[in-house]
């Protein structure tokens, strides 16, 4: 038997299988391509440069939030406050600009606000031991409440300074490329690097996959979880700065519904609510999928009130697809392990004399699980 060869092939396959498992972005890619193809054939206008840039541009806000959400989901958390925090940070930026501060000061103020909310979320969850869901839900109420009181329910307007048109993407930088696109690209690369090649990234996966094991290995679990929420808060702040520029006004209900879209994009991209799974590329593609779908129904002339149903349907589809890939993978793993003893025997046909000592049976507990 060509043991070595078949072993090597199995391991390459195993790795490919693992990539598919932890990297369900393949499913999203398929979905995205399908929707694009359908749209392209049905509406020639879909493939025009203007429309494509429009779609990408419209996906940026959700994309930024989904990037932060992915980090939190990997650490087995969930951040329901991102929409409200985004709106609050948009208001901070707008008010700062209104009060004559330059953008270079207004933006850091917004980022500080986002980071502070992240720290608050993290502390509530780790130190007080509140469930992630509850703590961030409370923060959602808190942040949007502050915004209502602050603005009195009247949208903030008249804060646009010339350079802010760039930040909002209303004035493109080169050709149709806008600043928000570049911001999203850079931040996606940074977070991708963080997750794949940094200590914090490893620790995020560790905490999300098995908090107990992570703690026993000396991972500062609380710090890691707090940092996850800080990253999410910062991403919400960036999204807030961008949306303030894009919208040219900040109504108090600006962030409503964004948390659902962010979670949807992250989950479509393969993040699991059970923690330990999630990909940055997935979040990016997830946000694009949502944007393309919405674009398609707009082109179809479906009233925009149906958008929510479409988002819900796509989310369900993605979760079902993820679940299917898990089932298929578990099945494949069982098959592989079931084959293992057979292979083992073929590798070592000489088991020695028939009188195998009883001890040799004892330690061979189930490899099969």
């Amino acid at each position: 038997m060509s043991t070595d060869q078949s072993k090597a092939r199995v391991s390459v396959l195993e790795r490919a299988g693992y990539r598919l498992l932890l990297d369900p972005t393949l499913g999203v890619q398929a979905m995205l391509v399908t929707i694009c193809v359908v749209a392209a054939f049905s509406f020639p206008v879909f493939l025009t440069e203007v429309n494509l840039y429009n779609v990408v541009g419209s996906s940026i806000i959700v994309m930024l939030l989904a990037l932060g959400m992915t980090v939190v989901l990997i650490a087995r958390g969930i951040d329901l406050s991102v929409g409200a925090v985004m709106a609050l940070c948009a208001a901070v930026t707008a008010e700062a600009l209104l009060n004559g501060y330059p953008l270079t000061l207004a933006a850091p103020m917004a980022l500080a606000t986002g980071a502070a909310v992240g720290i608050a979320n993290g502390l509530l969850i780790t130190k007080l031991g509140l469930p992630d869901f509850i703590a961030t839900l409370a923060m959602l109420g808190f942040a949007s409440g502050i915004l209502y009181i602050w603005t009195g329910g009247v949208p903030i307007i008249g804060y646009m300074v010339p350079e802010f048109y760039y930040v909002g993407g209303l004035t493109p930088l080169v050709g149709s490329v806008t600043v928000p696109m570049l911001i999203a690209l850079v931040l996606a690369l940074v977070l991708g690097g963080l997750l794949g090649w940094s200590r914090l990234g490893t620790h995020l996966f560790a905490v999300g996959s098995s908090e107990h094991s992570a703690r026993q290995s000396g991972v500062a679990v609380h710090r890691v979880r707090i940092l996850a929420y800080v990253i999410s808060g910062l991403m919400a702040a960036v999204a807030g700065i961008v949306i303030a520029g894009r919208n040219t006004n900040v109504p108090a209900d600006l962030g409503t519904g964004y948390e659902i879209q962010a979670i949807a994009a992250a989950v479509i991209g393969g993040a699991s609510l059970g923690g330990g799974r999630g990909r940055i590329l997935g979040a990016v593609l997830g946000a694009l999928t949502l944007a393309v779908s919405i674009n398609l129904i707009n082109l179809l002339g479906v009233p925009s009130s149906y958008q929510k149903i479409v988002i819900g349907a796509i989310l369900l589809l993605a979760v079902v697809a993820n679940r299917l890939s898990e089932i298929v993978n578990a099945w494949a793993r069982r098959r592989r392990l079931a084959r293992a003893p057979v292979d083992h025997e073929a590798d070592a046909p000489d088991l020695g004399p028939p009188t195998v000592p009883a001890e040799s049976l004892k330690p061979t507990r189930k490899a099969l699980r």
């Binding site: 490893t202 991972v219 025997e345 088991l351």
Partner: protein
């Protein structure tokens, strides 16, 4: 026998006490470990070994007591404190993260990083691989294994990763909690070699084991615990297995090992009516055309190597996994196996293999754990749970099965493994089963609890039940069973009948030989 005063001791534990909600796990425990020695911790289940280890590893904080390492008083509040002082622990329950690769798991919390000075943020997986590669290879982990997520591995390989993880960082004090459970002979001996090599390099080892025969020639000192207290320390060269057993349980070893001779003759009974019959049951590729029957008053043993399909057979009978073909007959009537709850209703019950994950409901009380499978019995009008009668029933089981706990309202997670197992058996008995399936009933529990569990199985059968016992230890199967079926690659490959009679004729070795040969795939000459 007091703990000897060791002025040269490296680790000194003094007066450590730990209580969990009414259960005293450790009481005024002392321990002193000399530099470069292998120090064995012995004791039955619930003796306090695991708790002491958790204290040293920073998993649990002691209520009282001090820990001194190299003359320096340590405050170990969390696992990273212990690691920072060079105290590394291989826990009995694995501390691996399934989503991370083997390499990332080994270096978890101690990652190596590269990058420009002051900006060392990038994980240096190349250097990490280089550093651990040869060590990993010695334990059979290839380079590719290092890049695979640990969640893909079986239990055995995970244990190996855990050990490599502990050895990779040159610990000052290495704590091994039952490190050999689940290891093959080869790996076990390689681990022992490593333990010796570490000792030669001035590392001290604390080693918890239930296998007393492993001690000799390896451990230097043994400290025995009983009921959360230190019984004493002895040099291993000055002692014997019998002596240690006596210290561990406070009774003579012969009383524990006497079961085989005592029990065998009286078990020679005629089997009763057929209770359960399987005809040509198959399930995918893991079970192939299995036919068997079990009778009242009979203990049927199932032997086989890992992966032979023993657990799968139990799960198929219980309806946990669907069978793809074949039929199951209970009391002569064919039944459709769909759900495990249906099989429980029909009088089957199973004590599952993985107690921690499949058996106990850790946060519920002992009483609740017993009644959970048959709540109707302790309920008024069929649905209002009567806490009083639940507790009373649990109290009966506590007495009849000598479950060691001050109170049936205590959480089951605070019990020792052996006592947890008794609770699980009580839960099954509480459903009045006609067939009871035991999958590895004595895995990870000590000698005395093992004897008690064996007796529970025998009592159940003597009262007219039928039992199926799955065990990896052939000796255990032979001791218990009237009849043993041997499985291999999902098939039944042999049957050995009349075991009690054979034992009465002193033909133990012959029976063992036949079972082992069948399981390993050799024809019996």
């Amino acid at each position: 026998m007091a703990v000897p005063d060791a002025p040269d001791a490296m680790l000194v534990v003094e007066g450590v006490t730990k209580r969990y909600q009414g259960v005293t796990a450790l009481l005024d425990v002392d321990l002193s470990v000399r530099p470069s020695e292998i120090h064995a911790l012995l004791g039955g289940n619930g003796a306090g070994k695991s708790t002491l280890i958790n204290v040293l590893a920073g998993v649990t904080a002691p209520d009282e007591g001090t820990i001194t390492l190299d003359g320096e008083r340590l405050e170990i509040r969390k696992p990273s404190d212990a690691l920072a002082h060079g105290i590394t622990t291989v826990h009995q329950e694995l501390s691996l993260v399934p989503a991370l690769t083997t390499l990332d798991n080994i270096f978890l919390g101690r990652e190596m990083r590269s990058g420009p000075p002051g900006l060392k943020v990038k994980l240096d997986r190349k250097t990490m691989t280089k550093r651990v590669e040869s060590l990993a290879a010695e334990f059979g982990l290839s380079r590719i294994d290092l890049q695979l997520p640990v969640g893909e591995f079986g239990a055995l390989k995970k244990r190996v990763v855990e050990i490599v993880k502990a050895l990779a960082f040159e610990p000052r004090l290495l704590i091994l909690d039952e490190p050999t459970s689940g290891l093959e002979d080869d790996e076990r001996h390689r681990l022992f070699e490593y333990m010796r090599a570490l000792r030669d390099r001035d590392v001290s080892l604390i080693w918890v084991t239930h296998h007393l025969d492993e001690l000799f020639g390896l451990a230097d000192t043994a400290t025995v615990f009983r009921d959360g207290q230190t019984v004493g320390s002895v040099p291993v060269s000055d002692t014997s297995t019998d002596d240690l057993v006596q210290r561990m349980f406070g009774i003579a070893a012969s009383e524990l090992s006497g079961t085989r001779e005592d029990a065998a003759p009286e078990r020679v009974t005629e089997p009763g009516a057929e209770v359960l019959r399987l005809s040509d049951v198959s399930q995918g590729t893991v079970l192939r055309e299995v036919s068997l029957s079990v009778h009242r008053g009979e203990i049927l043993g199932i032997a086989g190597l890992a992966g032979a399909g023993r657990t799968e057979l139990a799960r198929a009978i219980m309806g946990v996994d669907k069978i793809s073909s074949g039929s199951v007959h209970l009391h002569g009537k064919r039944v459709q196996v769909r759900h495990s709850s249906g099989m429980y209703r029909r009088g089957l019950a199973m004590v599952p293999e993985d107690r921690k994950h499949l058996g106990i409901l850790g946060d519920l009380s002992i009483a609740e754990n017993i009644s959970i499978s048959n709540l109707r019995r302790v309920s008024r009008f069929g649905f209002v749970v009567n806490k009083g009668s639940e507790a009373a029933r649990a109290e009966e089981y506590r007495k009849s099965m000598s479950i060691r706990t001050p109170d049936v309202h205590a959480k089951i997670r605070n019990l020792s493994g052996g006592n947890q197992q008794k609770v699980i058996v009580a839960r099954c008995l509480n459903t009045d089963p006609s067939v009871l399936i035991f999958d590895e009933p004595t895995q990870g529990i000590d000698v005395s609890a093992k004897v008690e569990v064996h007796n529970l199985i025998r009592d159940f059968v003597a009262a007219g039940g039928a039992a199926i016992v799955i065990a990896s230890e052939v000796a255990e199967l032979i001791e218990l069973s009237h009849r043993v079926l041997v499985m291999k690659k999902g098939r039944l490959v042999g049957e050995i009948t009349g075991i009690p009679e054979a034992l009465a004729d002193n033909r133990y070795d012959e029976v063992e030989h036949r079972i082992v040969s069948l399981a390993a795939g050799r024809s019996v000459a």
